[in-house]
């Protein structure tokens, strides 16, 4: 247990949040909860660790809050205010210059946490339906905005122009993922389907594949850091890992007590996967073996978001 500080900057950090209005920081390898942070008045819809690993951003109903990971402060250090509805996703620009969010007020926003309001580069992108997913392209110039009407808007941050994709009619886009190499984009919808596009070769995304990933509501999709695996999580109580390129099922991760799987994250070597579930447990799976390695218990209610920052050695 020794040799691991409280999830400070350079260390491995696992953060979970959910319906119990708390955010928990875990010692990932032992499964011990190191700290609990308060997220009053709202559930946690999304969590993202800042690129320098010092802070974690949490979004919820009317709130976006930033917490210090290195200190023992249970309260946020920054509150982002002025939003009247649920914020569904939060993310950071690669260098940490700005932050982006998407929410049920049918907008995607760029936030600039720096002090002077005059020099802030705030930006807003309005769509017609509540936004469920926002995903920044690895080249940092485009944000994919997925909404409840089933449209994916490709918002160009430099020109403010946008392009639309409608993979399936009358199906709400639940999550969008782009692989770290920027070549593939995947989106899941409330019918449990996963759509894959090729990016980069042509100016527009090229539809490549359709995976009937789940029989129920899909909730998240995420690529592994080496772009070889894609995980989709769902209300069918499972997380499924797919081999990128072939789009074949590598592993179906289920557990008797596991319920809706809301979020997932890979380790940098793509060997392990974290999942967070409605049964209030987060789990660590060995993807290769398909075994359950660790369980993280401490939340009173469903875990709906998790963030993980690994360290390469």
């Amino acid at each position: 247990m020794a040799g691991d500080s409280i999830g400070g900057g350079s260390q491995v950090a696992l953060v979970t949040g959910g319906y119990d209005h708390t955010i928990k920081l875990w010692q990932a390898h032992s499964g011990v909860c190191l700290r609990t942070m308060q997220h009053p008045e709202s559930q946690v819809n999304g969590l993202e660790i800042s690129p320098n690993g010092q802070r974690v951003a949490a979004c919820g109903y009317q709130h976006i809050r930033m917490y210090d990971l290195a200190s023992a402060n249970p309260d946020p250090v920054i509150n982002f205010e002025g939003i009247t509805k649920n914020v569904s996703r939060v993310g950071f620009q690669k260098n940490g210059t700005w932050m982006y969010t998407g929410g049920e007020d049918c907008t995607a926003r760029i936030w600039d946490p720096r002090a002077q309001p005059q020099t802030r580069c705030q930006k807003i992108f309005q769509v017609q339906a509540p936004v469920n997913a926002v995903m920044l392209h690895p080249d940092q110039t485009q944000i994919m905005v997925g909404d409840q009407s089933g449209i994916i808007h490709l918002w160009d941050l430099r020109t403010d122009q946008n392009e639309q994709l409608i993979p399936e009619a009358e199906a709400s886009i639940q999550d969008i993922a782009i692989d770290p190499s920027g070549k593939v984009m995947a989106a899941v919808n409330n019918k449990g389907n996963c759509y894959v596009w090729a990016l980069g070769d042509s100016p527009h995304p090229v539809p490549r594949h359709h995976i009937p990933a789940h029989t129920k509501y899909a909730l998240r999709c995420k690529f592994s850091l080496d772009s070889t695996l894609l995980v989709t999580t769902s209300g069918d109580c499972s997380a499924k890992v797919w081999r990128a390129g072939e789009w074949s099922l590598v592993r179906e991760l289920r557990h008797d007590s596991q319920r809706w799987v809301w979020d997932a994250a890979f380790t940098v070597d793509s060997r392990y996967l974290f999942t967070g579930s409605s049964d209030s447990y987060a789990r660590l799976w060995d993807v290769e073996k398909g075994t359950l390695e660790r369980e993280y218990c401490g939340h009173q209610k469903a875990i709906t978001a998790l963030a993980f920052k690994d360290q390469a050695v």
Partner: protein
């Protein structure tokens, strides 16, 4: 409506008036901030002191010259009015203390604040919330009024080169490899009862003494905080969970093997009460000190074997057969008819062992000791009927059993239905007994005292001992039992115990003697210092 120009008076008045509905928030700042009236009061006192000194320095104007030098210093002080006094002639004592009309402007120099409970708590909360809020930076969304300039766009939204994905080794994977299964995993399901950092959920904290562990691991209680609706079995599980995280080297058993009993502040379990019902919510119980016990230990109160003493009387000997506790009464059936002086087999074997030892070593000292034992018959088990003196409750009739290895105090009368008169059953290893002496000889009774150290009971793994009061505390705690009986019996008991104690000369006794000696020394030196 009145206007006041004394800001100190105003500040004081706002604080004392407990205004809680001021929309401007100014009153809140005054109330939550520093108590100016106190600060000013101190300043006023200081200034008064200065002024008084100055007056005394100026004999021409001093009152002493005018023949009022007999005025008391206190009154003198009252008469001096400084700029820090809030309207001294209009002070609230005018209305508050009508009984003392003569001292209408005399303020309470102690400045004792009025007792404010709810308001204070409310204000504290408010203050904490304000402090908390002050630490949080707030960024409000502002609608972008002017579009970003091209420079800004290129600065903030420039295209970054996508790095080629590399194969990384994960630090987590390495940590997992180096950290195989952990003992707390078996209690993981109880982790969710953690009450720390719960928002808006009632919680309850307990001090849990891990009495089922060896003595060296139970110096400090484990403080656990669980959510209030956790059941006792959840509390046991969470205690095991927390303990196994903090002490992964100690292996605990299954949650079902343990029970929680009421314990005293010092961690001694009250064996007179049964374990708390595992299926009841912990919020139901008012006790905060609990002892975690092994359920099977409740059945067997006395351990079967006695450890071998280290002080020369070697040889393994079993003293008494395994004693099984009959439910809750803590009666010891094998002891009931041992009033007379019978030599137990154990003592015989002990003596035999001593003899063998003597033959082997040829130690003359030991030979002397042995003859002494034989002469006094001290090591034989003998029981006496005496009264155990208590500080609070009535004295109880007990049977004190003394043997070479232990002293047992067994209640003779048990009122099964009156819990307050229920006495405990004590058993002390002789190595934990430090001292025995006659305290006082009254007309027909004599009181005597046994001093023992609970921490020296370690090797005895006995969880029943408890004491009345802390007696002496140089490095460790000693506790005492006081008894009362007839002169002869008291003398016999004290002699017997002292003979055994001298014979054993246990570390506990040596420490106690040394500490006592030190105490005497310091007293003496203190005394001589004062005389000189």
């Amino acid at each position: 409506m009145a206007t006041y120009d004394n800001k100190i008076w105003l500040l004081k008045n706002i604080r004392d008036a407990f205004i809680a509905t001021d929309d401007t928030g100014l009153c809140e700042i005054v109330m939550a901030g520093e108590d100016f009236s106190k600060i000013f009061q101190n300043k006023a006192l200081e200034e008064k002191k200065c002024l008084r000194e100055r007056r005394l320095m100026q004999p021409g104007t001093s009152r002493a010259k005018e023949g009022i030098g007999d005025i008391s210093e206190e009154e003198n002080e009252r008469e001096i009015v400084t700029q820090y006094d809030p309207y001294p002639d209009l002070d609230d004592s005018e209305e508050d203390d009508p009984i003392y009309p003569g001292s209408s402007y005399v303020r309470n120099e102690d400045g004792g604040p009025r007792y404010r409970t709810n308001t204070t708590i409310w204000l504290d909360k408010k203050e904490q919330a304000l402090k908390k809020a002050a630490k949080i930076k707030i960024i409000k969304w502002e609608e972008p009024t002017t579009p970003l300039t091209t420079e800004q766009v290129t600065e903030y939204f420039s295209k970054l080169e996508i790095a080629k994905p590399e194969k990384h080794k994960s630090l987590l994977a390495e940590q997992i490899k180096n950290c195989p299964d952990l003992p707390h995993r078996q209690y993981l399901e109880y982790a969710k009862f953690d009450g720390t950092a719960q928002l808006g959920m009632p919680t309850k904290s307990f001090k849990i003494f891990m009495t089922m562990l060896p003595e060296k691991h139970q110096n400090y209680p484990l403080v656990v905080c669980v959510i209030a609706n956790a059941k006792i079995k959840d509390l046991i599980g969470f205690t095991c969970y927390k303990y196994s995280i903090e002490h992964p080297e100690i292996i605990l058993g299954s949650v079902h093997e343990y029970g929680l009993c009421i314990a005293e502040d010092d961690g001694e379990v009250d064996w007179a009460f049964p374990c708390l019902d595992a299926n009841e919510p912990c919020s139901k119980f008012g006790f905060t000190c609990l002892g975690l016990i092994e359920l099977k230990h409740r059945a067997v109160v006395c351990p079967a074997s006695i450890p071998i003493p280290e002080d020369g009387i070697s040889g393994a000997f079993h003293v008494f057969s395994k004693v099984v506790d009959s439910g809750q009464s803590n009666q010891n059936p094998s002891r009931h008819n041992t009033g007379g002086s019978q030599t137990s087999e154990a003592v015989l074997s002990a003596l035999k062992a001593i003899n063998e030892d003597k033959r082997a070593s040829g130690d003359k000292e030991l030979s002397k000791l042995q003859s002494h034992i034989l002469a006094t018959e001290a090591p034989q088990y003998k029981a006496y009927k005496v009264h155990l003196l208590r500080k609070v409750r009535t004295n109880t009739s007990v049977q004190v059993g003394i043997s070479l290895d232990r002293i047992e105090i067994e209640p003779l009368v048990t009122h099964k239905h009156a819990f307050w008169s229920r006495s405990k059953y004590f058993i002390h290893s002789i190595d934990s007994v430090a001292w025995c002496q006659i305290l006082e000889a009254k007309a027909n009774k004599t009181t005597f005292r046994i001093v023992y150290s609970p921490s020296h009971n370690a090797t005895f793994h006995d969880r029943n001992s408890t004491g009345n009061q802390t007696f002496f505390q140089p490095n460790q705690t000693y506790k005492v039992h006081d008894f009362e009986c007839e002169h002869d019996v008291a003398k016999e008991i004290v002699d017997r115990i002292n003979t055994i104690l001298d014979l054993r000369n246990s570390p506990c006794r040596r420490e106690y003697k040394a500490a006592k000696e030190r105490k005497l020394q310091t007293r003496r030196s203190f005394h001589t210092k004062h005389i000189s």
